[in-house]
Amino acid sequence: MLTYLTPRKLALYAGILFCFFMLESPIIMWANQIEPMLFGMPFFFLWNLFWWFALTALFLVAYLTNWGSPTKRPTAQ
């Protein structure tokens, strides 16, 4: 049924969903703590910054790979 999900597209969207899950699912309450302070920051802040960075980087990868879709064939014009 989902034959249009190429492996690259599947990996990208799974990664995006996973990052959103780490940022917005109830799992965030597990990270909701001050200790350990890392780089002078509470753990909760570092958790958010880490997953924000991961997802932003993933969006860059998505752009560079045309969001997992094949680029248009020359004959298509």
């Binding site: 034959t3 909701n32 001050i34 002078g40 910054l49 248009k72």
Partner: protein, 507 residues
């Protein structure tokens, strides 16, 4: 004082000059005035989307929320990413359909796909009613900043009046082109202002690490959910994430910024750019938390940033950063005023009052609408009190409801007009009853979340039960979706069981 007045004056005059310059490229057509002839380039698109999306809500509201309620506003990192993702996934499809069928407003797309006048009117009403309060908070936020930056010399009522006077002039002259050009300046100012304000103010408590360390000793509740007041836990964390991103994305001002884009390729890059820009919120974390240590007893939390700037930064620097905050407010307000005037002109005037209106007449009505809505927002700013974030979320919860019929229109041929209408009315009723009426939102989630849930259930359930008879409309959209996939996602073509005829040869 003279220096800060000069900065305020420059802040007022520069957009006027930009408006005049941009008007030299304008044509007197509705498509040029409202969506720049669908030919907006990449730099202008990024800055106008980002500056429109980031508002007084972000510049002042973020500091105020960190100051009063702890880290719940940190969910903004994720909502920026969600906004960016929607701009790619939904926005690109909306852009494609807009270009093909000449849409200018949200009602154009939704009304056309569902082939329903009732739905068209409902969508126009939602966009108008729920955009005005959000517009009001831009005016309030911008006027706060100008009032404080001028040392009280320009009172709130006058600051708000000046603010809107400037917007009306340059939008009147240059339409969306003037807005996009000024947003490049405003956007740069806004991100610089947020970051530098945080960096500078936190240096007064020894820098970021010392700031967090002191907060851990004196007010640890500020560093974890549910915050010092105990009311900002996970439900609000998730509600802010979903409602803010979806509500802002469905605002008519962002719809125009989907229709205006020249090339579809730009949508692919926007999630990354908009996500990256979210780093500016680190500045708000530092400013808001520095306020907890330096100015713990501020009455109106929305004024915490201007107050700290005045007390701890050199006067000129404080004025410059506050001008950046006013830029955040103005860059959203100009887009909103322009967008609601588009809705009034195209969805009400042209469709129901004067179908044969000339291009010049349409543009003229659009300009008059600018003045009317500016006046309404100005009066509300002077008479309706409230905290920026509270008003903002209530308004966003309303526009967020449009996401359900929109996704239906761009992806699902079974989507039924009655289902979309029932879903929208159900969702809006839920938001209003839980925000202003006798019901309270269960489990701590915002009324907008429950509205979206009810909206989705009604929409999907009724669409499965009911069947559309207007097959020609459904086929027209199926063909458009096929062509979209042929152009951008050729791997999806096998999913069409009966391929629509297409002039693009991928088979």
């Amino acid at each position: 004082m003279t220096g800060s007045l000069l900065i305020i004056t420059a802040f007022m005059v520069i957009p006027l000059l930009v408006g005049v310059l941009s008007a030299r490229q304008s044509q007197e057509t509705s498509e040029d005035f409202f969506v720049q002839g669908r030919a907006m380039g990449s730099i202008a698109v990024f800055f106008t989307v980002a500056a429109t999306w980031w508002s007084a809500f972000a510049f002042l509201g973020s500091n105020a929320t960190f100051y009063t309620s702890g880290p719940v506003y940190l969910t903004a990192l994720a909502w920026n990413l969600l906004f960016g993702f929607m701009y790619y996934w939904i926005g690109k499809r909306v852009w494609f359909l807009g270009k093909r069928f000449n849409y200018l407003t949200p009602s154009d797309l939704i009304g056309d796909f569902y082939n329903s006048e009732a739905l068209r009117i409902t969508v126009a009403a939602i966009t108008l009613i729920f955009t005005v309060p959000y517009l009001q908070i831009q005016l309030t936020g911008g006027a706060y900043l100008i009032e404080v930056a001028s040392g009280g010399l320009i009172p709130f009522w006058l600051a708000a009046l000046l603010f809107y006077f400037i917007i009306i002039i340059y939008v009147w002259i240059g339409g969306i082109r003037a807005i996009a050009w000024t947003d490049v300046i405003y956007g740069a100012l806004l991100f610089f202002g947020m970051m530098y304000a945080g960096y500078y103010i936190s240096s007064h408590v020894g820098g970021p690490a010392a700031l967090f360390s002191q907060l851990q000793q004196t007010s640890p509740d500020h560093l974890t959910l549910p915050g010092p007041n105990g009311n900002m836990g996970y439900p609000m964390w998730f509600s802010l994430f979903a409602i803010t991103a979806i509500g802002a994305f469905m605002g008519p001002q962002i719809w125009l910024r989907m229709y205006s884009v020249k090339s579809g390729k730009l949508f692919n890059l926007m999630p990354f750019l908009l996500g990256l820009a979210a780093f500016a919120y680190v500045g708000s974390v530092l400013s808001g938390y520095s306020g907890v240590l330096l100015e713990p007893n501020v009455g109106n939390p929305d004024q915490i940033l201007p107050i700290m700037l005045m007390n701890y930064a050199p006067y000129l620097l404080a004025s410059l950063i506050m001008a950046a905050g006013a830029a955040a407010a103005m860059s959203t307000a100009n887009s909103q005023i322009h967008a609601v005037s588009t809705v009034v002109t195209m969805d009400i005037y042209k469709r129901y009052i004067n179908r044969e209106a000339s291009q010049a007449r349409i543009v003229y009505i659009g300009r008059l609408s600018l003045v009317g809505f500016s006046l309404a927002a100005y009066i509300m700013a002077l008479t309706v009190p409230g905290v920026l974030v509270t008003i903002g979320i209530a308004a966003l919860a309303g526009t967020a409801q449009l996401i359900i019929p929109t996704i239906g229109a761009i992806t699902w041929k079974k989507a039924h007009p009655s289902a979309a209408l029932a879903g929208l009315w159900g969702g809006i009723a839920c938001v209003l009853l839980m925000t202003f009426g006798p019901l309270s939102a269960p489990l701590g989630f915002h009324a907008g979340i429950w509205g979206l849930l009810l909206n989705a259930v009604l929409f999907i359930g009724l669409s499965y039960v009911l069947h559309r008879r207007d097959t020609s409309v459904v086929e027209r959209f199926t063909q458009a979706r096929y062509d979209y996939d042929a152009e951008y996602h050729p791997e999806r073509l096998p999913a069409y069981s009966q391929p629509a005829t297409s002039n693009v040869n991928y088979q």
